[in-house]
């Protein structure tokens, strides 16, 4: 019997960054295991280290110490290019500031990870993906020609297009108004449910966090609570 590895396994992960004033400890020994298909919200005030934790799990940052295993790969042993390859087709990331490539159309932006992963029919699949987020009529538009909500939908389509095993979202509605943000959230959970990807959502919105099965709370670079969202009291 084959025992599937967990989607994410962190052991004593530390991250310190050097700044002009000396070294700053961002993460101070984080242990965390996330199973395949789980939906996890990471809550915490600004500066608690939640975004840095996500960056390490998504391979955007390398831990200073500890072990990082993602989708069966030991991230701590990979260099920058190794991390880039590890992300290909397996990890999707949605960020607060959209981060679309300004010189590419919406279609090209979505096709890019598919092409890098060597998936055939990248453009047809990208078009389909944009159709599914309601942007079938905006394929040839450049990011600067799209509204904020539309840009975030392109970013979302780009993140899920290669059917990643892991989907990360860091404050995906932070730059959007309430109504547009709500639409994006609905879309994101729908796509996640359709694909069954492991989903990590960084937010400071407790209501939003409740939509995930599990809620982790961080403070000063450490996990201070880890519980099912049903245990999150309404008052909190």
């Amino acid at each position: 019997m084959v025992i599937a590895s967990p989607a994410i396994k962190l052991q004593s992960v530390q991250l310190s960054l050097s700044s002009g004033a000396g070294s700053v400890n961002i993460l101070r020994g984080v242990d965390l295991t996330v199973e395949d298909g789980e939906t996890v919200a990471i809550l915490g005030p600004s500066g608690s280290g939640k975004s840095s934790l996500m960056a390490i799990m998504a391979g955007l940052e390398r831990a200073t110490a500890g072990r990082v295993e993602v989708a069966g790969e030991d991230f701590s042993a990979l260099n920058e290019d190794g991390l880039a390859r590890a992300r290909r087709g397996r990890i999707g990331v949605v960020l607060q500031a959209f981060h679309l490539i300004p010189t590419m159309t919406a279609l090209e932006n979505v096709a890019t990870p598919l092409e890098l992963a060597g998936i055939p029919d990248a453009f047809a699949k990208a078009a389909q993906e944009l159709e599914s987020v309601g942007l079938g009529h905006r394929l040839d538009h450049y990011p600067s020609q799209l509204s904020g909500g539309e840009q975030q939908r392109v970013a979302l389509a780009r993140a899920v297009a290669p059917r990643p095993r892991l989907l990360f979202a860091d404050e995906p509605t932070g730059n959007l108004d309430g109504a547009t943000g709500a639409q994006i959230i609905e879309l994101m959970f729908r796509l996640q449910a359709d694909q069954g990807a492991t989903f990590i959502l960084i937010t400071h919105d407790r209501d939003l966090a409740r939509r995930c099965a599990r809620v982790i709370e961080m403070r000063d670079g450490q996990i201070v609570a880890d519980r099912p969202s049903t245990h999150l009291s309404a008052a909190e």
Binding site: S51, S52, A55, L60, E61, E80, D81, A84, R85, R87, R88, G89, V93, L95, Q96, A97, H99, L100, I101, P102, T103, M104, E108, A111, T112, P113, E115, L116, A117, S144, R158
Partner: protein, 842 residues
Amino acid sequence: MLALKWALRDLRGGLRGLRLLFGCLLVGVFAIAGVGSLSQAIITGLEEQGQSILGGDLEVELSQMEATPEQQAAFARLGQVSAIAEVRAMARTPDGRSQLVELRAVDNAYPLYGTITFAPGGAETLQQALASRSGTEGSTYGAAVSADLAGRLNLKPGDALEFGDGKFHVGAILAEEPDRVGRGFIFGSSVLVSREALLETGLAQPGSIVDYEYRIRLPQGAGVEAAKQALTEAFPDAQWRVRDRTDGAPRLRRTVEQLSQFLTLVGLTALLVAGVGVANGVSAYLARKTGTIATLKSLGAPSALVFQIYLLQIAVVTLAAIVAGLALGALVPGIAGQLLAEQLPVPPASGLFPKALLLGAGYGLLTAIIFALWPLAQARRIPAARLFRAGVERLGRPDAATLTVIIVACLLLAVLAVWGAADRKLAAGFVVAAVAVLALLRGAGGLLERLAARAPRFKSPVLRTAVANLHRPGNTAGQVVMAMGLGLSLFAAIAVIESNLNAQIRSTLPEKAPAFFFLDIQPHEIDTFKDALRSTPGTGAIETVPSLRGPIVRVNDVPADQVKADPEVAWVLRGDRGLSYAEDVPEGNVVTEGDWWTPDYAGPPLVSLDEEVARGLGMKIGDTITVSVLGVELTATLANMRKVDWDSLGFNFAMLFNPAALQGAPHTYMATVEATKAAEPTVYERITGSFPAVLVVRVSEALEQVGALMAQISVAVRAMGAITIAAGILVLIGSIVASRQARSYDAVLLKLLGATRGQVLAGLVLEYALIGVLTAAIALVLGLLGGWFAVTRVLDLEWVLPLGPAFGTVLVGAIATLVMGLAGTWRVLSVRPNQVLRAAQT
């Protein structure tokens, strides 16, 4: 005042953003101020040393005749006189080595100004050096020989030497001759002997080329012009050339001036390239200030105030750059005097040269206005709404007033470039060509952008980004093509011209060039001379022509100094011309107008002129020209015009007479002979041994000397070309710096989506390779065109297509662009993704 206050307040952020503006202007102004200062310093140096360069305050030069006793008495009334006779001769050693020299017979008064010094080991004074002495071979005269000749013939003081029929010994080796520079570019080393000794040589024969110079040292305070006028009034018809201390080396001065003008034009190219950098620098700086400008406007600042604030900032940096460029330019004469002492004819004078500096400042200021005003005027239009949305709308063309100022500045720049030049046609042509090339390059850059926008999309997203970088809003590909292209085109053109000249000397010449020129063959020895050549194995065709010398004194009764001649042919009116006569049209010449005389024609003198010379002097068939041969005037009627192939290295005369007109005058012969390389030493030995008075010039040696001179000029031109390239590189660096943030962001996003550093690098390589290849291709075409024009139209040479050197030059340029581009963007590869993503988030 408010503008100034705010401008200073805004500068708290530093002027870092204006470094490109500063660097580009500094380089351009430095180039122009440096060249101007150096040439002014050399010319001032020539003027300051005018007396010793000329050898007196006044010099009266007569060709092939001495001054009459009355004339000599008149010279003596003006001041102290030193008389010199000058003749070309072969110096021979007893063991048969020989060398062409310029033999100068001087009197006791020589030198009137400056001091003559000798290498240790020989005589210490000139009198001692030239004195005769008795030895085993009887009495011999002393000769002071140049170090150059001593080196070539391995001479030391006391060694025996012969000139013509005279026996000499080396009295001393010259270390410094004060009047060397004034005599210009000469073939042959200098040797000083006494007047009596010259008579012994038998070289001063009628028909031989002997020049007599009378140098006069005027009493303190006596005016040069008054002295000149006194001579002209006393001897209105005298056929002499009078020079004074203000113009001791006119040919050298002309060369320095012409070279300096040409280099100034090349410097102007550098400044134009720098202008592109100025525009980029100012645009990038103001782009960074968009937020500030929008905020100022939202707080109620009017456009005019915004304009004034940034105009002040840019003006401060512009002035600082100009001052720094001028300061560096002003140092050039001093540095060149130290480093290039061997190459420069006189030490450059020290001091500041305001004209050169003003010119540099003027060019710099106009360039700054032309290139900085456009982006500055656009910036005033930035709307306050930019605070709320990123700018996608174009800012459009500046207002009419700004455009007018820019156009006026352009015109002033063109006028300054053309007005300051002696050859205004050339300068105007250069300005038009430079602008056309710039426009063409800009057009090509624009085409690259459009092609990139329409190019079929690459499958690879990385390569797609590379192509997109060529046409994204705010890209600088077009400007880089323009800036690098101009410098590269210039280099390609220089390579083409040089390789054409080399090819001409290497391949074309040996086929038709003779191995030797012989001068001063006396009529009585011409037959034995020819026999001697014919009997030497390895010799080929021998050509001999009668040779006389004399200046043109009148054209259609207008004195030569009043003839309005085309500058291209003005040389025929300066000094002596070689004259000859011929029964038939010389080989390689074609009569283009009029008729050639019959072989037995014996009527009034007729003359045939080179057609360019005739037209340049404004002459038509039937007009008259008067020459002076050994003091006798000869007026001839223009019978025909010829097209002369001046490249043929055979005997070519601008002026040919019918035989009867000149046969009676005392003359010598000139000859050429073709010879194999192996036969050359034998020919040389035989002729110098048997015909001591005949002058021998080895063609290969003469070509080497010309080649060395060309190489020096080419180094100067390349140095200026390098400054143009430097300006282009500054523009390239500026564009890389300006786009680094955008590139880092692209690279990180690609990495976020799974691209490796290798893939990102491939994209950068493609981007710069595309720019480099396009720039190189255009530079190749423009360089070939420019080179072709210079070779066929300016130098009048045959065109060979030397693709190799031009191709090599632009290839190096393309690779340099690629390498510089990659070096500048290398950092992009190592940026940590999270760092950039976070920075963009805040």
